[in-house]
Symmetry: C2
Subunit: 204 residues, 2 copies
Amino acid sequence: MAGGPELERLITLLARLPGLGPRSARRATLWLLREPVGRLEPLIEALATARQKVRRCSRCGSLDTADPCTICADPRRDRSAVMVVEQVGDVWAMERSGLFRGRYHVLGGVLSALEGVRPEDLNLAPLFARLESGEVREVILALPATVEGASTMHWLAERLRPFGVRITRLAQGVPVGGTLENLDEGTLAAALRARLPEEGDERA
Amino acid sequence: MAGGPELERLITLLARLPGLGPRSARRATLWLLREPVGRLEPLIEALATARQKVRRCSRCGSLDTADPCTICADPRRDRSAVMVVEQVGDVWAMERSGLFRGRYHVLGGVLSALEGVRPEDLNLAPLFARLESGEVREVILALPATVEGASTMHWLAERLRPFGVRITRLAQGVPVGGTLENLDEGTLAAALRARLPEEGDERA
């Protein structure tokens, strides 16, 4: 390729990033090289810092440059509520909403016979340790609404019951802004089962 | 943000890449961190190599880890034909087509009164030097088919005329696979002006 093998390799690596392809990887490479000091160097530094400093939080399993992570270390976060999620991206999504003021636990996966994910492959021990400390009063199961996610939540709820904590799940239903015609049957069924009385309806 | 300020900075920098946004920058960050050795480290190395080694070719103005660049240094390339393009990305696009076996010259821009780009802002001296060497017989003007590109080609053709070389331009017309209804008037006019006799039409 024009530009030599080193540039070709950079484009190949960038093209592997989710969301980029060969075309945008080429554009990104040229964009970075147009201002090496202002664009390329800061990116190299940020990636190198991430490589050196980011680790799994030993308490919740999330990724952070500090251990315990920013959330686990924050004294303003509610210690009594723990939300169990599959991945770090789920923590980030929930944090962007700003709705949850408790702490998280990242399982790192869900049980799956098909993909050979067993309980010992999940990040479970630190969760049980936290429950043993007695500070947790509610565990919110927020695993994906898939077959594997649902069966993992069922399995986990059984394991958590002996701790005597409240166990809840995220509600299922019609996404805000969603139209019925594009929803699958499972979601429609869940939304119908969990229907709520309309405000002001005396008979509900 | 969850993950700490260093991760937040990495996501911000990745989100600036053309083709990525905040959402895909978060996905890319998590994807890289999932396998630091296999994904993050090779990318850091490739970016650092690009930072250290990539430079402008002193002959043609393209980007390469070698100077003269891979194309200028290739003895199999035709020295007698030079294609003048605006940007390095244009060289890469033409090379992917595999159609051109001559060499390139990257101007680094086009003349623009609006954006204050004057002749002295363009990479012109090495082009004139190559023409003075006497090895060039044809200069193909392949600047963008915009108002600025067209006036730059006109301006440049005047400057090149004293060298006594053949000066050509890329043809304009209907893009291969393009339908007429989506084409602008300028392209339609150019395609009509430059119409060719249908093969076998004796009257044309």
